[in-house]
Amino acid sequence: MASLTLKINNQDRTIDVDPKMPLLWAIRDAVGLTGTKYGCGIAQCGACTVHLEGQPVRSCSIPVSAVAGKNITTIEGLSEGNSHPIQQAWILEQVPQCGYCQSGQIMAAAALIKRNPNPADKDIDTAMQGHICRCGTYPRIRKAIKTAAQLATQKASVK
C-alpha cells in the first residue's frame, strides 16, 4: 500500500492504495467518483476513458502510481451542469440508452473536438472506434459529435 496524491478534476485527492491498482479502481473505489465505468479491464471497450493531461486514456490499464501528480479529468469534471458542447449535443440528439458506456464515449468525443473542432466522418471513426456501445447508439454518437462541433462554433462566435 502507498499514499498517493491524485490530481482529479482540479482537486488533490490523497488515497492509500496498492500502487499497482489500475487508475480505474482508484477513481471509482478509493476516490469515489463512479461516473467512470468498468467494461472489460483490457482496454478493449473504452468505458473507463478519462483525460490524462487532456488526452483520452484507458484508466483500466494504467497503474495508479504512474499518474500521481498528473492532471486527470473524469466525466464529473468535464463541465459544470452538463454545459460542455458534447454533453449538450448528447442531450439534444438523445444519444444514451442504458448510458453505461456514455461517460467513456463523451470523454473520447470531447477530446476529439478539442483537437479537431470540425471532425469529418473518418476522424470520428478513428477517435470513436475503440468504444463499444451494446445498445447500439453509434448512429446518434456520430450525429451528436457533428452537432457538438456546430454548438462549439456558435458558442465561440457569440464570445
Binding site: K37, C98, Q129, I132, C135, P139, R140
Partner: protein, 722 residues
C-alpha cells in the same frame, strides 16, 4: 398476476412521504372493475393486479413511480409519460422515482418480453385520469361549484367561468379523501398533448455527466467486495481449494465456497471477499481451486451442432402447430425447396457486467440493490434461500447498464445475498467481464430445417418447419423433456397461418444441461426470424417473384399491406440501381410487426458494404417516437453483431470467448445509416425493445443474395469473406 376474489377494489392511501408530502396511490384490479376504498395497511394482502403510483406534495410537485427496470429501453420515460398525459402535468416539472420490488403494489415488474407499455398502458392511462378527476372534484368542492365547470391543465385545476385556479398541491389532501371514480374517460389520441411526442428522456442528463447510479456504483458503509472463481464447466464441483496465497493479499477478509442454483443444476465456486474490489480480484488470482468435473458431458460446439443437424435429418420432433398435412402436400408440390439454417450461441454482454449488492441484516431482513430486470421475482427467489418472508426482502432498483434478458436471471443476486449472510456484512458481488462472457446463461444456438412446396403459380402449398436446439423451459426442475417449445413460431407473421394450406411446426429439443441458456433480446425470434425470412426469400426467388410482392400475396392482410407499402416507398425498392443489392424481411413478435430493408453494395476491394437500413415499425398504440426509433436502431446494431461479428463457442465444456478481444462487438465503423419509420394506426400497443431485431439479419443476407447470388445460411459470417 392472478386476480383473487377480493380484487374488485381500489385503494387510496393517505400517508406522509417526506413529512409534508401526501401520497395518492391507486390500485387497479386487472379487469378495471369498480372502485372501493380500503385501508392502506391491508393493501399488501390483496393480491390484485396493480399498476402505478402518484404522489403530490403541498407545493404541487408531482412524483411518478416507474415500476419497471430502466435498462436503456426507456421505461423511466415512457411509464411517467403515459401517466402524465392523463394527469395533465408537464414532464419537465415532475420527479420520477423507481419503485422497489412489490408486485402487489405495481403488478408484475418483470421487465422482459417487451411488456412494459403493451402490458400496462391502459391501466397507466386510468391511473393518471383517475387522479386528475379526483383533483378536479376536490377543486370543485372547494369552490362549491359543479365539477363540470372545471378542468385540469398543467398541474392546476381551473374553474372555467371564473378562471380561478388551484395547483395540485392545494388539492391533494382533499382529493386523497375522495372515492376514486368508477369509470374515467380516457383521451382520444387526437387530443394527446404529450403522448406520441418525441419528448427528451428525463434520464438523459444523468447519463451525460456520470450521475446516473448503476448497480456497480452502489456504495454502502462497511461494504465488502466479492469476486467468485466459478467452475468454467458449468456443472463441475469444487473438489478442494488452497487459499494460502489469497489470504496474504492485503484487504482479503474471507474465502468461502459458494453454491447457487442455475435452473436444475448447481454451479459451484469459491468467493474471495475483500475490503476493495481490486484486493478481491488479486486474491482470486492467487487462489488455487481443484475442480471435480466428472459425471457430466464436456460438450464442444461441433458436437452440439452435429447433434442438432442429425436430429433434423432423422427426427420429426415434437409437433407444435399443424394444419392439413404438410408432408403429403410436399410430395405433390410442383416445386420443392429444402434448406438448413444455423445460428450461434451468444453471450448477452451487457456493458455493465453482472453485479449485485446485498445486505443481510441481523434482524432477519435483507436489502438488495442492483441492476435487476425482475425485482419481484428476486423477492420470491431469495425468500426460501434466506429463510425469511418475501416482504422482508427489499429490492431497490438502480439503472441497468443493459439487460437484454440476462438480468432477469437471478444467480448473481443469489450470490450476493448468500455471501452477505455468510460474512455478516453488506457485500457487492462483481462479475468481471470474463465471468460475464463465459458463465452464461447464453442465447441458445439453433438449427432449422425448412421445407416447402410451391404451386405452378408460385404460391406456397406446404410449409414444414423444424427447429433443433435447447428448450429454455426444459431446464427447470421437474420440467417434462417431451413438452413442445411454445416459441417455435415466434417471429412468424400470423397471416401466413391463414394463407398456407398445409403446414407443420415442430421442435427437436437438444438435451444438454451442461450449457445453461436464457432469453436474449427477442428470444427465439432472434434466431427463428433468420430461418423464416431467409426461406421466404428463397421461395420468392424460386417462384420467380419480387420478394415484396411474394409477401403481399401470402400475407394478404391490410395491416401488413400498409407496412409493405411504406417499406417499398421509403426504401426506394422499385428504383434500385444496378450494383445494389436489396433485401427485405418482416417478422412479428411481442405483438409488433417490423419490416426492414437493407441495401448493400461492393466496396472497391470487392468486399460487401451495408449502405443503409430502412425499418418500419408497427407497434400499434405508442408513447414516444424517438424512443422507438432508438430501440429499433439499437436492435439492428445488436443483430448486426450476432450476424457478422461474434458468437460463443464451447470447447470441452467451457466457453471459449472470454472478453471483447475475441467476442468482437460491432463498432461505430460497422454501423450503416439507419432510418426508422413508425406506423400510425388504432391497433393495441405492441412491444418496442425487441421486435426490431429479428428482421435485420435476413434482410441483410437476402440483400447479399440479391447482389451476389450467394445464400448465407449459417451465422455468424464475415462481411469481408462473402
Amino acid at each position: 398476476m392472478e386476480t383473487k376474489p377480493i380484487s374488485r377494489r381500489n385503494f387510496i392511501k393517505l400517508s406522509g412521504v417526506t413529512g409534508a408530502a401526501l401520497t395518492l396511490g391507486f390500485y387497479f384490479p386487472a379487469a378495471g372493475k369498480e372502485a372501493e376504498i380500503i385501508k392502506a395497511e391491508t393493501a399488501e394482502n390483496l393480491g390484485i393486479e396493480l399498476n402505478a403510483f402518484i404522489s403530490i406534495d403541498p407545493s404541487g410537485k408531482v412524483t411518478i413511480v416507474n415500476h419497471r427496470s430502466e435498462m436503456g429501453q426507456g421505461a423511466f420515460q415512457t411509464v411517467p409519460q403515459i401517466i402524465a398525459e392523463e394527469l395533465e402535468v408537464d414532464m419537465n416539472n415532475i420527479n420520477i422515482v423507481f419503485g422497489s420490488g412489490n408486485a402487489k403494489r405495481y403488478g408484475s415488474q418483470l421487465t422482459g418480453g417487451s411488456s412494459t407499455v403493451r402490458g400496462a398502458y391502459k391501466h397507466l392511462l386510468k391511473v393518471g385520469a383517475s387522479a386528475r378527476e379526483m383533483l378536479i372534484e376536490a377543486g370543485a368542492k372547494k369552490w362549491n361549484v359543479s365539477k363540470t365547470e372545471c378542468f385540469a391543465e398543467n398541474g392546476q385545476v381551473i374553474h372555467k367561468p371564473s378562471n380561478r385556479k388551484f395547483h395540485y398541491g392545494e388539492l391533494v389532501q382533499e382529493a386523497a379523501r375522495l372515492t376514486p371514480p368508477k369509470d374515467v374517460t380516457i383521451k382520444k389520441p387526437e387530443d394527446y398533448k404529450i403522448l406520441r411526442k418525441p419528448l427528451p428522456r428525463q434520464d438523459t442528463p444523468l447519463k451525460t455527466n456520470g450521475t446516473a447510479i448503476f448497480g456497480l456504483d452502489k456504495k454502502l458503509p462497511g461494504m465488502l467486495y466479492a469476486v467468485v472463481e466459478r467452475n468454467p464447466r458449468f456443472m463441475g464441483k469444487v473438489k478442494s481449494f488452497d487459499d494460502t496465497e489469497t489470504k496474504k493479499v492485503a484487504g482479503v477478509k474471507h474465502v468461502i465456497p459458494v453454491k447457487m442454483s442455475v435452473f436444475a443444476t448447481t454451479r459451484e465456486g469459491v468467493a474471495v471477499v475483500a475490503d476493495s474490489l481490486w484486493a478481491a480480484m488479486q486474491g482470486r488470482k492467487a487462489l488455487k481451486v481443484e475442480w471435480d468435473d466428472t459425471g457430466f458431458e464436456h460438450v464442444s460446439t461441433e458436437d452440439l451442432y452435429s447433434r442438432m443437424r442429425n436430429d433434423l435429418e432423422n427426427k420429426e420432433g415434437i409437433s407444435y402447430k399443424t394444419k392439413g398435412n404438410a408432408a403429403t402436400a410436399l410430395t405433390k408440390a410442383e416445386k420443392k425447396l429444402d434448406a438448413v439454417y444455423e445460428t450461434p450461441y451468444e453471450s448477452h454482454s451487457c456493458m455493465e457486467p453482472l453485479n449485485c449488492t446485498a445486505h443481510y441484516k441481523e434482524d432477519g431482513t435483507c436489502e438488495v440493490w442492483g441492476p435487476i430486470q425482475a425485482p419481484d421475482w428476486l423477492q420470491d427467489l431469495l425468500s426460501p434461500l434466506l429463510d425469511i418472508p418475501a416482504e422482508k426482502i427489499t429490492v431497490n432498483m438502480t439503472f441497468l447498464g443493459g439487460g437484454f434478458g440476462r438480468k432477469a436471471f437471478m444467480d448473481y443476486p443469489h450470490e450476493a445475498a448468500v455471501i452477505s449472510k455468510a460474512v455478516k456484512a453488506p457485500v457487492q458481488v462483481v462479475w468481471t467481464r470474463e465471468d460475464d462472457t463465459t458463465q452464461g446463461p447464453f442465447r441458445p444456438g439453433m438449427v432449422y430445417r425448412c421445407a416447402a412446396g410451391l404451386t405452378k403459380n408460385g404460391n406456397i402449398s406446404a410449409f414444414k418447419f423444424k427447429m433443433a436446439g435447447q428448450d429454455m423451459d426444459h431446464q427447470w426442475h421437474g420440467a417434462s423433456k417431451d413438452s413442445y417449445n411454445g416459441s417455435t413460431t415466434e417471429g412468424f407473421p400470423e397471416p401466413y397461418f391463414n394463407s398456407i394450406p398445409h403446414y407443420s411446426f415442430a421442435d427437436i429439443p437438444l438435451d444438454t444441461p451442461t450449457i445453461p441458456v436464457m432469453w436474449w433480446r427477442s428470444v427465439y425470434a432472434s434466431t427463428n426470424g433468420f430461418a423464416f425470412e431467409s426461406f421466404m426469400d428463397e421461395l420468392a426467388h424460386e417462384a420467380g417473384k419480387d420478394p415484396l410482392d411474394f409477401r403481399r400475396e401470402h400475407l394478404g392482410d391490410e395491416r401488413y399491406n400498409l407496412l409493405i407499402d411504406k417499406l417499398e416507398e421509403v426504401s426506394g425498392w422499385k428504383n434500385r440501381k444496378k450494383n445494389e443489392g436489396y433485401g427485405v424481411a418482416i417478422t412479428e413478435c411481442f405483438s409488433s410487426i417490423v419490416g426492414e430493408v437493407t441495401k448493400v453494395s461492393k466496396k472497391p476491394d470487392g468486399k460487401i458494404k451495408i449502405d443503409k437500413v430502412w425499418a418500419v415499425m408497427d407497434c400499434g398504440w405508442y408513447v414516444n417516437p424517438d424512443i422507438i426509433r432508438a430501440q429499433v436502431e439499437g436492435s439492428i446494431v445488436m443483430a448486426l453483431g450476432a450476424a457478422t461479428k461474434h458468437a460463443t463457442h464451447f470447447k470441452e465444456g467451457k466457453a471459449v470467448e472470454k472478453n471483447f478481444d475475441t467476442y468482437k462487438m460491432p463498432r461505430i465503423t460497422d454501423v450503416p445509416d439507419i432510418e426508422v419509420h413508425i406506423m400510425n394506426n388504432d391497433e393495441k400497443a405492441g412491444g418496442v425493445g425487441e421486435p426490431g431485431l429479428p428482421p435485420f439479419t435476413p434482410a441483410l443476407t437476402n440483400a447479399i443474395f440479391d447482389l451476389t447470388a450467394k445464400r448465407i445460411r449459417k451465422l455468424p459470417f464475415s462481411l469481408d469473406e462473402v
